[in-house]
Symmetry: C2
Subunit: 227 residues, 2 copies
């Protein structure tokens, strides 16, 4: 293995180990020594890659941000109806939270750490939700009397709640939860000519058993852990 | 002042000071020395009242639990329609989160600390929501096709989301947010003969300017802080 490749593997192992620690104990209670040991790396090697715990947390958040950006960019470029795009993106995000430790830890960090300069995952999601609801409004796809801003409040609050509750019980991060949410909300949000065209279970999620998501990120995570 | 009274005041000052620290920095980053200093109490006096940070956190959570229990017990004994009881209780809880530092810190602890033996504020709320929705179902007050369990998922997730988002921006804990939530959800949840009888702004919240709640707990908190 080339030196550069090996360095990249170690860096990824540290990010994964940090994510596991942050996800389990929170940022403040996690220690650089424990994170390094878990990654099978000396503290010296740690400092070759990261200045301190803070910069490691920034790397975890940055990975989570990239994952979220991939989901929202892909969604923003879709020409499906905006409400379907929103449902699909929320399924994709929750599925990713369920399967990818680094994304889950990134969101938890964004709640734990008080650092306003760090770009916030939650507000990135919130902006996306607001944008799609404005689009739904201009498409004439919202039911009469539904204000895009009210809908954005409810959708942002609910998806945040699923993420937080999912820390204690992964059942909250199931496809069933997200589908229940949209099954309830869709007929209220959507103009009557739209309702039949929208699928609360998501239009682009690989079909599962209804209880779980297909989890494409798991093998990647396992590979990280082993490296 | 009698000795017992003074001891009780010191105990309350420590609980309030701990709540302020937990709310601001999280549990793990808060120190007994800082909490004592903030309460104007020596570390020796601290240990007269509490064994350690853990037992102080338990006292904060216990106060928050009492506050939540008062809201849900009072709601459980109401003979208003269950959906109105739910709306009123969510307004009361969010208003309390906004105005009472100890309750806010209690909820945050329930997210920060990994201790399964400690009774969970969130599940207390979740049980209440589920109970009221079952009651709404047996009242025949739910719209056709609305499963009480789906509705419980959405309401629990949304109220949890408001609580968490409210840490960064109190606007989420405004009466306006909670009203927007019910304005959107009520017409979907309620059977048509019920919709006109339900008030998304809450039937028993003191009327405010629409943006804020009357905050009865604030003077109490101020008194605590000064004691």
């Amino acid at each position: 293995m080339r030196k550069q490749e090996r360095a990249e593997r170690t860096r990824r192992a540290l990010i994964h180990s940090a994510a596991a620690a942050f996800d389990e104990y929170g940022y403040a209670s996690s220690r650089v020594s424990g994170i390094s040991a878990r990654a099978g790396v000396s503290t010296g090697a740690f400092h070759f890659h990261f200045e301190d715990k803070e910069s490691l947390a920034a790397a975890v958040e940055s990975e989570a941000r990239e994952a979220l950006l991939t989901i929202t960019r892909c969604a923003d470029s879709s020409d499906e109806p905006a409400l379907q795009v929103l449902a699909d993106a929320s399924h994709a995000m929750v599925s990713r939270l369920r399967s990818d430790l680094v994304v889950r830890a990134g969101f938890r960090l964004s709640c734990d750490v008080v650092d306003a300069t760090r770009s916030d995952l939650r507000s990135q999601w919130q902006d996306f939700v607001r944008r799609q609801l404005m689009r739904a409004g201009s498409e004439g796809a919202l039911a009469e009397g539904v204000a895009p801003q009210d809908a954005a409040t409810v959708i942002t609050a609910s998806t945040t709640g699923l993420e937080v509750l999912g820390r204690g019980d992964q059942e909250w991060l199931s496809r069933e939860s997200v589908t229940a949410f949209w099954r309830l909300l869709m007929p209220r949000l959507a103009a009557s000519h739209m309702v039949g065209r929208l699928d609360p279970a998501g239009s682009d999620v690989t079909a599962g058993d209804g209880d779980a998501y297909a989890a494409p990120a798991v093998p990647q995570v396992a590979e990280r852990a082993a490296s």
